[in-house]
């Protein structure tokens, strides 16, 4: 975790949401919006504050989007991705795979 913080964008990073990333970019999860079943499903599937997440690509028709978190590939719609607050980071030097 400390390593991830060290390589953050020049210290004062901007918090944005997962759907704002460009394909291939990474982010570190800050929080998940909401406490309903969607939010818990995202958390159960590995979207946890502190974890890094990569936006890999979108589906051919623009939605859903494929992400990589904790070593697994997960497809979410942009509606769900909007609830994942992240700080954009450079490629994490340690693979998030457990």
């Amino acid at each position: 975790m400390l390593l991830l913080r060290l390589i953050l964008n020049n210290g004062d990073s901007v918090v944005t949401t997962l759907d704002q990333l460009l394909p291939g970019q990474f982010g570190q999860i800050v929080r998940i919006d909401g406490f309903d079943s969607i939010a818990s499903r995202l958390r159960e599937m590995g979207f946890i504050p502190g974890q890094s997440v990569q936006f890999v690509r979108t589906a051919p028709l623009g939605d859903p989007m494929k992400c990589s978190v904790q070593g697994s590939r997960i497809a979410v719609r942009s509606g769900e991705a909007r609830r994942v607050y992240i700080e954009p980071i450079l490629k994490p030097s340690v693979e998030p795979r457990s």
């Binding site: 969607i38 159960e44 890999v56 589906a59 051919p60 028709l61 070593g71 509606g79």
Partner: protein, 763 residues
Amino acid sequence: MAHSAELTRSAATSKRTLRVALVGNPNTGKSTLFNALAGMNVRTGNYPGVTIEKKIGRCNIGTYDIDLVDLPGTYSMAPRSPDELVAIEVLTGDAKNEPDVDVIVCVVNATLLQRNLFLFSQIVELGKPTILALNMSDAAEARGIAIDTDQLSKNLGVRVVATSASKRSGIADLKEAIQSELDHRGDKGAFAEPRKRPLPDEFYLVCDELRKELIERACTTGQHSGDPSKSDQDLVPDQYLIERMLLDRGGEAERRSVRRLGAAVLPAISAAREKLAAMLGDSTELECSARYAWAAAHLDGVVSQTRAKPHSATDWLDAILTHRVAGMVCFFAIMLVIFQCIYSFSSMPMDLIDGATGAVADLVTSFVAPGMLRSLLVDGVIAGVGGVLIFLPQIVLLFFFLAILEDCGYMSRAAFLVDRVMVTFGLSGKSFLPLMSSFACAVPGIMATRVIENRRDRFATIMVAPLMSCSARLPVYLLLIAAFVPATSVWGGWISTQPLVLMAMYFVGVVVAIPIAWLLKKTLLRGEVAPFVLELPDYKVPSVRVVFSRVWEAGREFVVRAGTLIFSASILIWFAGFWPGDHSRQFEVQREIEAIVVSDGPDSTQKTEKLESLEDEHRRLSSSLLKNSALGMIGRGIEPIVEPLGWDWRIGVGAVASFPAREVIIATLGTIYSLGGEVDEQDDGLIAAMRASTWPDGRPVFTIPVALSIMVFFALCAQCVSTLFVIKRETNSWFWPVLSFSYMTALAYAGAFMTYQVGTRFF
């Protein structure tokens, strides 16, 4: 008395088959592991009243008889629906009529150990003997992930077994672990130390307080419950459900407590939640973070990356298969190849079954004298059941391809690709697999909707699944197209009109399904767009065992259906067409015909003439008997209803008779056209008879608009009792099957009416 009762009980316990449950995330190779342990000795069904699939395999481990229970893959043990609560009750032994689970095997994907330990941390809290199966350990090894299983076992306090179900390694070790866990059941065994609890101690304190409070409350209010053996105290949820109640806002554990103890418990729950939030922050966030932290702490010193991670084949394949252009091309190519294979590979076995059916009918004809019994066997049973069994090869092939697509990991990519399109219709990408399956048969298609978590999406999918052109509609299309659609070439001879019409019939269902799904989501199933969170697993070579067992199950179910439902329907329809006429003259003529056919001597003109006149009489007799039978009377009763569709009473009767199962139309039409039962879509006799059929005034009954109107009717109508029963079972209500039946029948009538009325303007 007491003594003997105790003896019986102890005998029963010693003989009791023990239960081992497999639990795990989706995509952990759990079903492969299940198959490796249980072999082919598997029964599937449902837990009463819910849609949780009950899959039980019998096997022997050491001296134990084991019932191996495979629970559906899940990411979490937080019960959000009644169904999920049943899964937990099966594990805790609270489920009605379900024996206790003796050992839980938690199957985890060794390549995603930390994520998978989330579920494990919930499983250990159930307090049952648990084994951790590190499945796909070969894949982890291939990626340079080394896992110290001894250390992990020490950290977690459970037995840990590295397995690779697809390579069938580690299975013996797993069996051994299960056996020793069973040997030590009852006593504390090797892993006696209390398991570390994943959540902070404060949480458990609040839980205990809440439980105490609920018990007290139950004791004070419990006086008016007359039955002392069933005191209200028993209704207080156990430790696990109390924990879930606090953690899952609006979850099923909370709903159940309110149902059992009354809404008065709600203030107590929210007070406890507030206390918890004041101490530790929000519960959901708390649980997930605590469990992941727990997992990370227990993996300390267990997992190491021995060498650089090789570039994953999955990412490489995904770059192509989910590419903007190439991905879509591959998607359509795969679908095309599958449908092509189903048609071309199934023709030979279908001919074989057809031949066999004919041979059996001939055999019965030669052994049984003309009469009621023969008529029942040949016209009723063989024509009905044989006509359905002929589709077995197609069903088996479709399931074969679906099982391969699912097991190799492509199905979730297909859902990913088409999700955007499905959202427009009010469905989701997860509806794709069920709808695709429905092209073979809506019954497995509707069962496959269980993968859709959102109730509204799931029900909308269930409602439109029967509109997909299933394989039972195919014979109707084939028969009518062969008889009435001219085989004209279009587009410079590349394509003939006949396959074009067939394709159009397949499109009718899809085109109608779109507005129906959209309408349902705007009215009865209105609500927010459901979330779509779908794991895209690693691609892998499909497991032969998993594919084979899936195909075998589907084939068996289909044959059983043919042997029960279609069998009974055939007999009923045969009876309605047979009764109440006097058939003695008809059988006499039949006997005379057969006597002439088998008689020796040269084929004289006289003999031929006699035969022809007898056959003519037989035809007339059968026709008039049918006209005056129960079926015929119904037919003439409904003639005014079907006339606007361009149908005569015979088609009307055929359509009505096909309501139990649409395949029945072929056999019914065969019977109706005085040809006896053994008629299939390739039978020139039926085609010729239909072409020759006329109205009383001499106009031909069948014209192109009539043929099209029949096909449209069959494309849209809910003529399948099994589908309606499955809808009832899966929705747990009669409303949905009734709605499905009514809207589809109304649509079918309207569609056929429009087709005929518009068609007659052109032809």
